[in-house]
Symmetry: C2
Subunit: 405 residues, 2 copies
């Protein structure tokens, strides 16, 4: 499949994170001739936190991770084991057998206690995971762990993704540098609900475990929970973050660190949208003037999820009437006569109608851009929110009417 036209020029040069090593392998889970398993091993003394899908039909690995992170922390380091090609979701008791088989085998290979082995699986739903193939790859994975293996790991977790996704930051905490590096996969079934796609983030700062969990939840609401490709929510969405403390710096509660982490999360979230199935346009929806932030988010997501708005964008049609429609259906408080709509800098509609200075040619010219900003001001209060989405094209239909995912 061709790489998304919205992809970054290249995978970024990610910093090594002290205390974390990566490897990847081709276990033949579903795909032939490409890597499909990644292993990350994290040194003892690290803290780990995670955020997961709220789907009522969560996958077996998600249920296992949630149980482990809810238990008191245990010693001995962590390992993340992730495969693509099969999500091990809706696979009944066989799904649990596969997870336990893999966590036991990973513990045997790496020496990390089984209570600290966190797995994820992504791909087709409802088919048995051929977990023995992954088990048989574990000794090789353990033997090839390397501090610079993150790029290969990011590639191994791709499914319909057309490019691997990475982002990083370096930030000063108490006068000393700490680093954050993350990777993500995702391009369809993207409307995370209080969670995200598969995302793994690492830092060499130390961070209190409960505080890290709270920080991740808060930042997820402002990053991964504000993107949508197709309004569908995965059974497997998982975000895990490990803070190794290898830098000797404790970043717990540090504002600059939180800001840098939010930047990394937002960058990864945007890359997921840029790899949206069939996407040719990257669209930011910026809502202001709502009664509160929750209403602003409702409006932003209603626009971002509207098939009629997304097909208009695909057709480069400045069809702001469909934006009005989406505002109206959002459930948020809105007053037709106070609403204003902008395409980029151009004021299109205000006071309940098209702006007197607006010219259709200006809107049509703007819509030809690859990166678009739709601005909506509700004129009611101080609430604001942003959401990010892509257009809805023939490519989405082609991918999903044929691909069994």
């Amino acid at each position: 499949m061709a790489v998304s036209p919205l992809a970054p020029a290249a995978f970024p040069d990610l910093p090594q994170i002290g205390g974390v090593r990566f490897s990847s392998a081709a276990a033949g889970v579903r795909y032939k001739g490409r890597t499909d398993v990644m292993l990350a091993v994290i040194d003892p003394g690290s803290t780990v936190a995670g955020v997961f899908t709220r789907s009522a039909t969560r996958s077996a690995p998600v249920l296992d991770c949630e149980a482990k992170l809810a238990a008191p922390a245990s010693e001995g380091g962590y390992a993340f084991l992730v495969n693509s090609g099969n999500s091990n979701a809706f696979t009944g008791s066989a799904g649990e057998t596969a997870v336990h088989g893999l966590t036991a085998a990973t513990s045997a290979a790496t020496g990390v206690p089984e209570a600290n082995i966190l797995t994820a699986s992504t791909g087709v739903i409802g088919e048995p995971l051929p977990w023995e193939r992954i088990r048989d790859a574990l000794d090789g994975l353990n033997g090839s762990l390397a501090p610079d293996g993150i790029a290969g790991a990011a590639r191994a977790i791709m499914t319909t993704d057309t490019f691997p996704k990475g982002a990083s930051a370096e930030v000063q905490v108490g006068g000393k540098a700490v680093r954050i590096a993350g990777m993500a996969k995702g391009s369809g079934m993207i409307a995370p609900d209080m969670a995200t796609m598969l995302v793994y983030i690492f830092t060499d700062a130390a961070y209190d475990r409960a505080a890290l969990q709270a920080l991740l939840r808060r930042l997820t609401d402002r990053t991964f929970n504000c993107i949508t490709v197709d309004s569908d929510t995965s059974t497997s969405d998982s975000l895990l973050m490990a803070a190794t403390g290898a830098s000797g710096v404790d970043a717990t509660g540090d504002d600059a660190f939180a800001e840098a982490l939010e930047g990394v999360m937002l960058d990864l979230a945007h890359q997921v949208v840029r790899d949206g199935e069939g996407a040719t346009k990257f669209v930011e929806i910026a809502v202001t003037g709502a009664e509160d932030d929750a209403d602003a988010r409702k409006v932003a997501m209603a626009i971002a999820n509207s098939p009629l708005v997304k097909t208009a964008i695909a057709g480069e049609d400045p069809n702001w009437g469909r934006i009005v429609m989406a505002v109206g259906k959002s459930g948020a408080k809105a007053d037709r006569d106070l609403l204003s709509i902008r395409l980029g800098e151009t004021l299109v509609a205000e006071k309940g109608w098209v702006s007197p200075d607006y010219r259709e040619e200006a809107g049509a010219a703007y819509m030809k851009q690859q990166e678009l900003v739709i601005g909506v001001d509700l004129g009611l209060g101080q609430g604001s929110a942003k959401a990010w989405t892509c257009d809805l094209t023939h490519g989405y239909i082609e991918i999903n009417a044929d691909y069994r995912s």
Copy 2:
């Protein structure tokens, strides 16, 4: 545009309803060479009730209708005036000027008091309605009113519809026959919220006004509010019903009448789905075993709105994993291990996994049908609901990436 493959063989032979006359005309609102305005005049002594979109950006005609129906009933009969080609939505004070201009002109032409003239407009949002063109057609419309004009009227209100939609019933009330006849338009921007597309229903029974309003609301929730084409809700959705009493029979509170009316409404709702933009499959989602009916409806609509389910149907892929996903994201209470899924009569998944007797070939053969039933039993309680939708195809993208609606 080609007629939908899911269209009925022909427009039904609708009974004449005593006390109602129809006409249609080509006023050139937007389209050339086709009718685009319909007038229905209803005799004095009739009662009228209506249900409208809950969009926060409702059109000017919807706001006018709501105000008129909220006021005490007045004497002198009713008129419904409807145009296609322009929705007169988000047109500011010019929208109100257009509505008042049209209701005054319709009153002058027909002799019906202005307080009883109910209008609707459907088509492009945000462009001024050239209402003078409709005004200039009113004398001709009034002069050509006829009891058998309903088929022409149903055709005049079409936009992206590929066929006109009608349905009828005859039912015995107190040993005497009364008749119901209705028409509808709609094929995109279809996810009515406590309302519907443009729908007009007539009966020669008498019916108490407040009771008719309550009946319409209740039946709308079980018919038009259970269909979806694209999850988008129109600014103009309107359902109006007139009970003329010309039969001499009062049907207020009659169960057989309510059942017959529900049948007419469901028939029209299904026809809207059958004319869904780009549709090639008609799909019923039947949910049982939910904790309550509200949860069942959440699950049914989550499946019916899921782009991934709808593209799988377009691809004739028995991809029940995507149905599991949609159940999971619906927000309804669900237990993976109690859930069962059927494609038609075939049990596909149960007890948290694929059914041991299920063969992929059976599912694949079923998906080739044009009419599909997806059954989901949640195994929790007695709640049930049905929803109706169509598949998501290249046709939908073609229509909406190009057509300015």
